[in-house]
Subunit: 390 residues, 2 copies
């Protein structure tokens, strides 16, 4: 590779995202670019919304892809739902819950934190106690914490929020398309995700959904929404029937997203969730049989992002560099307090496959052996195979 012409190597992506992309999605990327107000393009945006709704588990009219990465979706939800002085219950049990906190504070909303150990979900009882003490406009939660691999059980919290009339703002970045999201059943008022994880598209778009209640609340704000770019009222005028120009929607990315959503529709949501669960179980069975440990207790593990504890004495960066250089394999390191303590292994979308489970175990076993850490690959492979056969 000449230094004046850097090119992308062909990686096997098993980190927190992006993940490997289905060939049909790559192909869709090169569909001819057309204008953002072309009647043919508006049909494509409508179809994106139509196919996103079942994945979010919602009938919300305002459901489409915000023009930025997942973090733009987070900002769209926070900036539209909150204004200065609003009381918010911010549940933090990882890096992304904390990112929401930072955004809430930048909106000058009044945040009350419920902080939990990274690697555990937020206990609904703590939310109940907080709701008994004070009234909150919004509760922010992370359904699938990308930094820890923790799945937040939602049913009890949904009931509490409903009983106390609080809105829920939900991060579904590492769940949408790989784990069931029930936005309507849970009474979610704003949820966001990204295009490049379980949805299986390149990064650059942020699927979002807003309830009618959230849209009405945004329309009655005292302070205008500080972000013009992510103002859901303006986005709705473009996505919705008025078709008022707001931004130059990226046709290339939306073609890819639409094709990724078609793949989801063809597979069927329940088949897709079952596939993610099966491959996750195989990976866990495999790495545990190899002698490694998971960070998260079984009942709270994400099927999409597996967090494996780094064995004592093993160098995180050396292992990941070896995997990248030797096998072109990307896995993720830990973030924040978990840096150097865990690896994050993504099995999402197209890349949630038996092939990837087995390849990862073999490559990791070799990387650990070079660090003087012996693992039982044969036992791991047997355990993974049994789980795949189950």
């Amino acid at each position: 590779m000449a230094s004046n012409r850097p090119e992308a190597p062909l990686r096997k992506l098993m980190g927190p995202g992006p993940l490997d992309i289905h060939p049909r999605v790559y192909q869709a990327l090169t569909s001819p670019v057309i204008g953002h107000l072309d009647p043919a393009y508006l049909k494509i945006l409508d179809k994106v919304g139509e196919l996103l709704r079942p994945v979010f588990g919602t009938q919300n009219r305002v459901t489409n892809a915000a023009p930025g990465t997942g973090t733009s979706g987070m900002e769209a939800c926070v900036a539209n739902l909150l204004e200065p002085g609003d009381k918010v219950l911010v549940c933090v049990h990882g890096y992304f819950g904390d990112r929401i906190r930072q955004m809430v504070e930048r909106q000058e909303a009044q945040a009350t934190l419920i902080e939990s150990e990274w690697g555990r979900p937020t206990d609904p009882q703590r939310i109940e106690e907080a709701l008994k003490k004070d009234a909150y406009k919004v509760i922010t939660l992370v359904h699938a914490e990308t930094s820890t691999g923790v799945l937040q059980p939602m049913d009890a919290i949904a009931r509490l929020a409903k009983a106390h009339g609080a809105m829920i703002l939900l991060d579904t970045v590492t769940s949408l398309g790989g784990i069931e999201v029930k936005a309507d059943e849970w009474g979610i008022d704003a949820a966001y995700s990204c295009s490049q994880k379980c949805i299986g598209c390149p990064p650059g778009l942020a699927p979002v959904t807003f309830s009618d209640r959230a849209i009405r609340a945004a329309g009655k704000r005292k302070h205008p929404i500080r972000s013009w770019y992510l103002d859901i009222g303006l986005l709705d005028k473009y996505w919705g029937s008025e078709r008022v120009y707001h931004h130059t929607s990226s046709s290339s990315l939306n073609y890819a997203l639409l094709e990724a959503l078609r793949l989801i529709e063809e597979e069927g949501l329940s088949n897709r969730y079952a596939r993610h669960l099966k491959n996750h179980r195989a990976l866990v069975a495999g790495v545990e049989a190899m002698g490694l440990k998971m960070l998260v207790a079984p009942e709270y593990r994400l099927p999409t992002l597996n967090t494996v504890r780094i064995p004592e004495g093993v160098d995180d960066v050396q292992v990941r560099s070896y995997l990248l250089e030797k096998f072109n394999l990307e896995i993720g390191g830990g973030l924040g307090t978990l840096k150097g303590k865990i690896w994050r292994v993504g099995l999402m979308g197209y890349s949630s496959s038996a092939e990837n489970v087995l390849f990862f175990m073999s490559a990791l076993s070799r990387a650990l052996a070079l660090q003087g850490c012996k693992t039982d690959l044969a036992a791991g492979s047997d355990a993974a195979m049994s789980a795949l056969d189950a």
Copy 2:
């Protein structure tokens, strides 16, 4: 086209953008997606910055593509440069100057407006008068007003801003890559553009550049930047040497942008500007010889976006629908007060070609004839040919 499978038709794009894309750029879009922290990917981002600098006419270290459309670039510049109470001189002579005003107001900065007729630039004398009366932190200007086709002369204003110590925030959405931008010579502190116009890439990215003075000022703010997603301090930590994760950069779009920038480098900036100018002159000579009139006086015309007055009695929407349906040709309508009064004809990037000039004239002549408006296509074609031969 089955209604349940909307597909993009193959259009000829001659509106305000997106424009037609070079095949090499489409090809780059399908380079394999890799991780946003992959060392190979960071080299690609570095190269994007390196190739953007000469196009902006800058040595600014903080020069790269913000993760959203051109409007995200506008918001990045406004939200980072301004905080509540800051005095700003906002020059509005079109739709996009007014969009800046709206963003300035959402930041609760104190805007003083200099409004000029749509179709004319801002008179430097009015800026001088304002600067004599009061001190302003920032002057906002639109170098190339996409709504009117007006080029704002910058030299006199640059001298005034320097003499009064005001920062300049500049919209280069319809100039960057097609008309010379001299960010350093003009003393620009923040400028933004989009990927899909003269740069010749699909939409979804916003090239931006920030001066060292702007970065220092952002670091000394009293109020945190309200946008976490577009906080230039956080973006700089990712783009710069620290490489701190901020967002999942869209590798697909950045591959395409890099290839588009390579095409610019290969052509050479002065050749590229000359090509845009020649095709613009041919189009103007042609439509004027056909009997049509331009909105903008010759000395202020953008070579990239041509605004043609709609002849008396001709229906704007019928003409544009006919061009789209009969010839798959997209041109733009007017925005705001110019709606129904002008057409916006883009000759930008790959689509600035003799072929497009001649095709547009023929198609328009036919569309006008169907509206009972006779034009002299032979004279127009002769005039355009002469300009192309010049």
